[in-house]
């Protein structure tokens, strides 16, 4: 008599992987960040080869949907997808049906009809990526939603910090400028604290959100607080917020004098970062921006491999051992 066996968990066909998105740093655990940084490092070595293209995502479709102007984010996502051999489609709001007043939901449904594997979206309003995730079957990557989150920027910054300083844990990072309107500040603060770094937010009183300490950081208006930071991370000041009448700060001149990052305010060896695009002479003195302690170009380079890692990770089912990512190069 053959033995009757009850089918156990181990014998069932594997459940289809949960559809994953990258919408907020808050959705990530420390091990997720470690995995993404490791995959990015693997991809970085592939960039030194003569033929830079990898076949990892061949036949996959990545749609870039940009409702805000962007140079570095949109170009690096597009190049990241191409380097992984995915098909790409880039849609910008000017000249598209978004321009004709089509709702985000309808645009998402239209693009969803092409069955894209990933939709990368940048949108001026908080929660737009969530809406696209609900309206389509694609994996959604948030490339910036209003003042909420910009998770791939935070990841590329972590990548840069680890590459330049050898570690993240235990570092002290001062983030300086218009925290209130900055998705970069929000996602980076969460990412740094997740990885064991400490963060101090520094800026004019009206540009530090009330109760911002809930992000797990300190906040102060005193620029001297940057003195003992390993890294000074300078946020972009948007000029319209500096105009007379906005009254977040009395004037551009006053901002630059009180919070501008000048050579006098940084000490040798203190690293300086900026998500770009910079307003030289406003939030950052050109002498600081061009100094060898500035990591700004490294950040841009890190953007490509980090975004490659994000696309690769979302489209391969679940957590992937680093060795598998390495094997891709050989394929």
């Amino acid at each position: 008599m053959p033995e009757l066996r009850v089918i156990g968990e181990e014998m069932r066909p594997p459940a289809p992987p949960e559809r994953r998105h990258l919408i907020s740093i808050k959705d990530l655990a420390r091990e997720d960040v470690e995995r993404l940084l490791a995959i990015a490092r693997t991809f970085e070595s592939s960039l030194d080869r003569e033929v830079k293209k990898l076949p990892a995502l061949k036949g996959r479709l990545v749609v870039n949907l940009f409702y805000e102007s962007s140079t570095r984010t949109s170009s690096s996502f597009e190049l990241a997808a191409k380097r992984l051999s995915a098909d790409t489609m880039s849609i910008k709001s000017a000249g598209s049906s978004m321009d004709k007043g089509e709702s985000l939901k309808d645009t998402a449904l239209t693009l969803g009809a092409y069955d894209p594997d990933v939709i990368v979206i940048r949108h001026p309003q908080i929660g737009a990526p969530h809406l696209v995730a609900r309206a389509t079957r694609a994996h959604v990557v948030n490339a910036g939603d209003g003042k909420h989150q910009h998770p791939t920027q935070a990841l590329l910054d972590l990548y840069t910090i680890r590459a330049e300083l050898g570690r993240i844990e235990g570092l002290h990072v001062a983030i300086v400028g218009d925290v209130m309107h900055s998705r970069v500040a929000r996602s980076l603060t969460q990412a740094l604290t997740l990885m064991g770094a400490s963060v101090t937010l520094v800026g004019p009183p009206a540009l530090l959100p009330r109760d911002v300490e809930v992000l797990g950081c300190d906040a102060t208006t005193d620029i001297r607080a940057i003195a003992d930071a390993n890294i000074v991370y300078v946020l972009r000041m948007q000029r319209e917020r500096m105009e007379a009448g906005a009254n977040y700060v009395p004037s551009l001149r006053e901002y630059a004098a009180r919070w501008g990052i000048t050579p006098e305010r940084v000490r040798p060896g203190q690293k300086v970062m900026h998500p770009g695009p910079m307003n030289r002479g406003v939030e950052i003195d050109p002498r600081v921006a061009d100094h060898r302690d500035a990591l700004i170009e490294s950040q841009v380079r890190a953007g490509l491999v980090t975004r490659m890692a994000v696309l690769y990770d979302l489209l391969t089912s679940g957590p992937v051992p680093v060795q598998v990512a390495a094997a891709v190069e050989v394929a």
Partner: protein, 422 residues
């Protein structure tokens, strides 16, 4: 001041646990209704159902005229009947605004032809709700206005606010105020606090409401005129109201089910159905509102039923309009979230949904008494039900309770002697 279809008056018998806190009734009784009037009250029946004075909602947006795709007199009053209401008051922020006797007259006429339950109308304080010129309040009062409000907008000018209190007093109607200092609330999509700091939303701080509450109470005190505060949301507003009441100001106030049940934590869902004005506030604000409701500082629960078209809410949070529906879920939401959790007793809830709001605008109080017109709600407190889109009589489905299971169902509503829902 209330207008509805001049329909039949019903005769029926109701049995159950009858609770009328104002009349001091809490007993198993048999109510005999003859020709729309409570003819006899006798001992009898069991506690299977709970019978109480039907509810009064002092704050409803019927969206008519102008946005009949969102709500009409028919759908809005049917929704109210299903929620246990025997009377509602509609806000004047329609298109056109209810700011003239002609517009009000056409609404009154429509209500007489179409309204399922008694419906009253508040008229605007200022023409077009523009905040510049007073409406002809005396003529509007004669034409049936139940009160005056620029709801949806504050009266920004303190000087005009003072004139409105003076003239409203002359017209014999209460001024109801949406308290919001626009230079503080501008750009705000939610309460300013820890959650807005994390999510990145522009914040509408609680002080943006309370400074206006304090100003308006000071003006009411100076002019010795009554006033009503709409949909309070902030602890500091409650504190200001308490102080004014102690000083003898004739002030009343209302609070919504969503402000009593939720806090700004709910906004983490980024669901446009938790976007309202005033916004959901912090835990301490919610608790202050609850305390004020318990001790009577806030005497009325108002739904601020604000229907919105589906496509207007299916957008990112910041692009969505403010407001949620509430008529069909108010009792069950409050019973489930406040009474069942021990935060509020049933008697107080029933009083604040019926006699309390009636008192604000001096409407006839729904009551259980021999010879009184039958305005009754029959409740099944044990029944659990799921809030679903296709269950609404309202034309709109922008409810913060979608998908939730609630306890306590309205089984029958008798309004002005007629069974309007069963």
């Amino acid at each position: 001041m209330l207008f509805w279809k001049n329909g039949s008056r019903d005769s029926l018998t109701l049995e159950g646990r009858v609770i009328d806190p104002t009349e001091g009734i809490d007993a198993c009784l048999k109510l005999t209704i003859e020709n729309g009037v409570i003819a006899r009250i006798e001992p009898g029946g069991d506690a299977r159902y709970t019978i109480a004075p039907a509810f009064v909602d002092p704050h409803v947006h019927l969206r008519t005229p102008g946005r009949e795709d969102e709500e009409t007199l028919v759908s809005g009053t049917a929704a109210a009947a299903a929620g246990g209401y025997c009377a509602i008051l509609a806000m004047p922020n329609t298109d056109p605004v209810v700011d003239s006797a002609a517009t009000l007259g056409s609404l009154v006429e429509a209500a007489r032809a179409e309204a399922e339950i008694p419906t009253g109308f508040l008229a605007a304080i200022t023409k077009g709700q523009g905040g510049a010129e007073l409406t002809e309040m005396a003529e509007l009062a004669d034409a049936g206005a139940a009160g005056f409000t620029d709801d949806g907008r504050p009266v920004v000018s303190a000087g005009l606010m003072r004139r409105a209190l003076q003239y409203g007093g002359f017209a014999g109607r209460r001024i109801a105020l949406h308290c919001e200092e626009p230079t503080l609330s501008r750009g705000g999509h939610m309460h300013e606090g820890a959650v807005s700091a994390e999510l990145g939303f522009g914040g509408y701080p609680s002080v943006g409401e309370s400074v206006m509450v304090e100003r308006d109470l000071a003006l009411a005190r100076y002019e010795d005129q009554p006033l009503h505060l709409l949909h309070l949301s902030a602890a500091q507003s409650v504190a200001a109201l308490r102080a004014a009441l102690d000083a003898g100001v004739e002030a009343t106030a209302e609070v919504t089910p969503h402000h009593l049940c939720l806090t700004d934590e709910a906004v983490r869902s980024l669901d446009a159905n938790v976007k309202m004005n005033p916004p959901l506030r912090a835990r301490e604000d919610r608790l202050a509102l609850l305390d004020a409701l318990k001790d009577g500082t806030i005497g009325a629960i108002a739904t601020d039923h604000a229907p919105h078209a589906r496509h207007e809410k299916e957008v990112p949070f910041e692009a969505a309009p403010f407001g949620v529906t509430g008529l069909e879920t108010a009792f069950a939401a409050l019973y489930t979230n406040l009474v069942q959790t021990g935060l509020l007793d049933l008697d107080t809830l029933l009083e604040r949904m019926s006699a309390g709001p009636a008192r604000v605008y001096r409407l006839e109080r729904p009551r259980v008494a021999t010879g009184a017109p039958a305005n009754l709600v029959v409740l099944d407190l044990d029944m659990a039900w799921r809030v679903e889109e296709d269950g609404f009589r309202s034309r709109s489905v922008n409810s913060w309770l979608l998908g939730q299971t609630l306890k306590g169902k309205v089984r029958m509503t008798v309004a002005a002697g007629k069974v309007v829902h069963s």
